[in-house]
């Protein structure tokens, strides 16, 4: 009797402590959300009150929300930032998954000369910080762009396509190539071990049915690897969606910026510093997509971390 009382008390105390931390984690985010529903005047007048738009719902108070979000979405280009992020991240992800899974499958299921060298080279990439390749890539891109322009401009003119300039700088394609290449080590490392866990007879069975290697891979092995692919996809998605350092260097043009870049550049410009409504709305727009993806897929993400933890 006494034991179970103590046990209940313990559970209660622990839940209380954890609840407090949860409050600390969640409150700032709620505050941002709530403040994004206020006009700049209301922010300064009552920074912590319940937004008028919620306290007294009505056309007038809703107009504030509309104003903040239109200003951010249209006026300050967050819509463009959002679509840029979506474009860059989804193309990168598709390529990472396609190329990474093929390479990982080949490396895990076949024996051939040079396999270990290639595999180890990829895994070594896990230790390379992005900072190391940033500066050489910057100059490399300038050189390559020059070379490409010089070699293809005459062709383009001959074909009446126009005056061609190739620029890997300031182009979504340019940064996608970097994102894909830099994400391959993690992807291949994770997927190789995942393919290794799949039962060995599956491929042979498909081959006996007369399927080609490609067909076996795409219609038999890949579906089996779905849980691994999802895990890899989430981690890469979060990493790329939030990427900042390479963005500053390779996407300087305002039209091309992704959400974190756009948010940062707007927050750094003095003229916006006092437009609280806009700042908070922009912050919400940046935070929400990853939160939604996380909530939808959190079980896979936790599983991914767990798998990593078990393997150590």
């Amino acid at each position: 009797m006494r034991g179970s009382f103590l046990e209940k008390l313990g559970t209660l105390v622990r839940t209380g402590v954890l609840g407090l931390w949860m409050l600390g984690v969640v409150l700032p985010m709620f505050w941002v959300l709530a403040t994004s529903l206020k006009s700049t005047k209301e922010v300064t007048r009552s920074p912590f009150g319940i937004p008028d738009a919620l306290a007294h719902p009505g056309a007038k108070t809703f107009a504030v929300i509309a104003e903040n979000y239109t200003k951010a979405w249209v006026g300050s280009g967050f819509s463009a930032y959002f679509w840029n992020s979506l474009k860059v991240v989804s193309i990168s992800l598709a390529l990472i998954l396609l190329l990474g899974s093929m390479a990982a499958y080949c490396l895990s299921r076949f024996e051939f000369r040079g396999r270990n060298v290639i595999y180890n080279a990829f895994v070594a990439g896990l230790l390379i910080p992005m900072q190391l390749i940033l500066i050489p890539l910057f100059f490399q891109y300038a050189d390559w762009s020059d070379v490409l322009t010089r070699s293809f401009a005459p062709v383009a003119r001959m074909l009446q396509l126009g005056n061609l300039t190739v620029s890997l700088h300031n182009s979504h394609e340019g940064i996608i190539l970097i994102y894909v290449a830099a994400s391959l080590p993690f992807t291949i490392f994770t997927l190789t071990s995942f393919f290794g866990t799949l039962p060995g007879g599956v491929r042979e069975a498909a081959m006996i049915d007369g399927a080609s290697e490609a067909r076996t891979f795409f219609s038999v092995m890949l579906p089996l690897a779905k849980p691994g692919l999802i895990t890899v996809a989430i981690f890469n998605f979060l990493g790329l969606w939030n990427e900042y350092l390479f963005g500053i260097v390779f996407l300087a043009d305002n039209k091309l910026k992704t959400l974190p870049l756009g948010l940062a550049s707007i927050s750094m410009q003095a003229q916006y510093k006092s437009d609280f409504g806009l700042m908070f709305a922009g912050l919400v727009i940046t935070m929400v997509p990853t939160l939604v993806v996380y909530l939808l897929l959190q079980r896979h993400l936790t599983k991914g971390i767990t798998a990593g933890a078990v393997k150590g």
Partner: protein, 446 residues
């Protein structure tokens, strides 16, 4: 092949096709011969309206040219990486590691343009219409690589009204300055506001004070970075005098204030004077009371000094560079010639209440008392001088000198220690082959 396989493969092909076309930009081939130059401008206190209007005027003058002009308060951050990847605009005004660009041959020399006929001045070359002093700042191998669009004066600013009310007058010697400070203290006004968050605001005052103490032959040793130049006893004295001003007469808390905060204190009459450049008027325009009559006096003569009492620390600002890697450097140089010609310059004076390097640009224009007193200071001067150390030795100036000044002003080090630190840093620069040092030029001819 089932549908899934097909879709996967098709999307793979599409993705690789799009990547093969990575970063391709096609410009239609046209018969139109319009040439577009890109001009990037620092958007500071003066704004860029003047630049934009001048661009439109230039386009009317030259129908074959389009000027694509943009401004940004942080223009240098955008331009610097573009220069490195050989994709700069044609013309820019911003802070750059200029000397690295000049010595690497990345800037376009302006000498041909300078020797060509000026806009709006019959029979004169462009060079003849500019104040001689500003041409010398970016000369390398006898070629000129940049020109300032603004002419600044370093002076001590005050409210004429405040001075009248108390019966004070502008000091002409350092002793008079400290006496005036004492009077202000007695009247309950903080004598000097100071932009303490940015200790570099003390630099021009220290160098001006040093100039009052020594002849120019000596002063230019610092500019030429000669061995031991900072150890000159008079330089130590200049530092000591600056420290005395700071410790005794700076407003309380000034060392924690930004430039706008401290200048605000001055504008509101809580501090009597402030050392600043000519841009002060425009920078504080909105904060100054309507009847505020700005006056200024140059850094006063130091009793016992052997320097020229009538020289004035002044020089060009917001310099423009033409990039060799730009698409049309000649046109860019010509547009710069237009910007720095008499009519645009007069327009600049009218709008911005400031000066440009074009000779006589302010003549006949009704100017504010602030600008008038700056013009008076220039007219009454025997020589205009300034130093180039902040563009030549950027890292030395930005880190070591900043920190030394901050310590000097808060009384943590003596003038001697200040001089020692600067000299030690200068020695490191001298022995570093990585840093370009121009040949000693001594005292420039007037």
């Amino acid at each position: 092949m089932d549908r899934r396989t097909f879709l996967t493969q098709a999307s793979g092909c599409a993705a690789s096709a799009s990547l093969i076309a990575a970063g391709c930009h096609f410009e239609p081939i046209t018969k139109d011969n319009t040439k577009t130059i890109e001009v990037a401008v620092f958007e500071g206190g003066f704004g860029i309206e003047w630049h934009k209007d001048m661009a439109r005027q230039y386009e009317q003058l030259h129908p074959g040219v389009k000027v694509n002009l943009w401004g940004d308060p942080r223009v240098d951050e955008k331009i610097k990486p573009r220069v490195l990847r050989r994709n700069p605009p044609d013309l820019a005004s911003c802070t750059l590691p200029v000397w690295k660009l000049i010595t690497a041959g990345r800037l376009f020399p302006l000498d041909d343009a300078l020797a060509s006929p000026a806009y709006g001045a019959e029979g004169k070359t462009w060079k003849e219409t500019l104040r001689a002093g500003v041409l010398a700042d970016y000369v390398y191998d006898d070629k000129t690589y940049a020109l300032p669009s603004n002419l600044g004066v370093w002076a001590c600013w005050y409210s004429k009204k405040l001075f009248r009310e108390h019966g004070w007058s502008a000091p002409s010697t350092w002793d008079e300055l400290t006496a005036l400070c004492e009077k202000m203290l007695a009247a309950g006004i903080a004598p000097l506001a100071f932009q303490g968050k940015y200790p570099q605001y003390a630099w021009s005052t220290i160098l001006s004070c040093y100039q009052r103490l020594v002849p120019f032959e000596k002063w230019y040793d610092i500019e030429d970075f000669k061995k031991g130049a900072f150890l000159d006893p008079s330089f130590v004295k200049a530092a000591d005098l600056m420290q005395e001003l700071a410790v005794k007469y700076f407003q309380k808390g000034a060392l924690a204030m930004t430039h706008t905060e401290s200048q605000m204190e001055w504008a509101n009459g809580r501090a009597g004077m402030v050392f600043c450049g000519l841009w002060l008027k425009k920078e504080m325009e909105k904060a100054l009371p309507d009847d505020f009559e700005m006056g200024c006096f140059p850094v006063p003569m130091v009793t016992g000094g052997t320097g020229d009492p009538k020289a004035i620390y002044s020089g060009g600002g917001e310099s423009f560079f033409v990039f060799k890697d730009g698409k049309h450097p000649e046109i860019a140089a010509d547009f710069l010639k237009f910007l720095l010609s008499i009519e645009p310059a007069r327009d600049y004076v009218k709008r911005n209440d400031s000066l440009t390097p074009v000779i006589d640009c302010q003549v006949g224009i009704k100017i504010s008392s602030a600008l008038q007193s700056a013009v008076d200071a220039i007219e009454g001067s025997t020589r205009m001088y300034s130093d180039r150390l902040n563009t030549l030795y950027i890292e030395w100036h930005r880190t070591l000198v900043q920190q030394a000044q901050a310590d000097l002003l808060r009384g943590a080090i003596t003038g001697q220690q200040f001089a020692d630190r600067l000299e030690a840093g200068a020695e490191a620069v001298r022995s570093n082959p990585n840093i370009y040092k121009p040949p000693a030029r001594g005292v420039p001819a007037l």
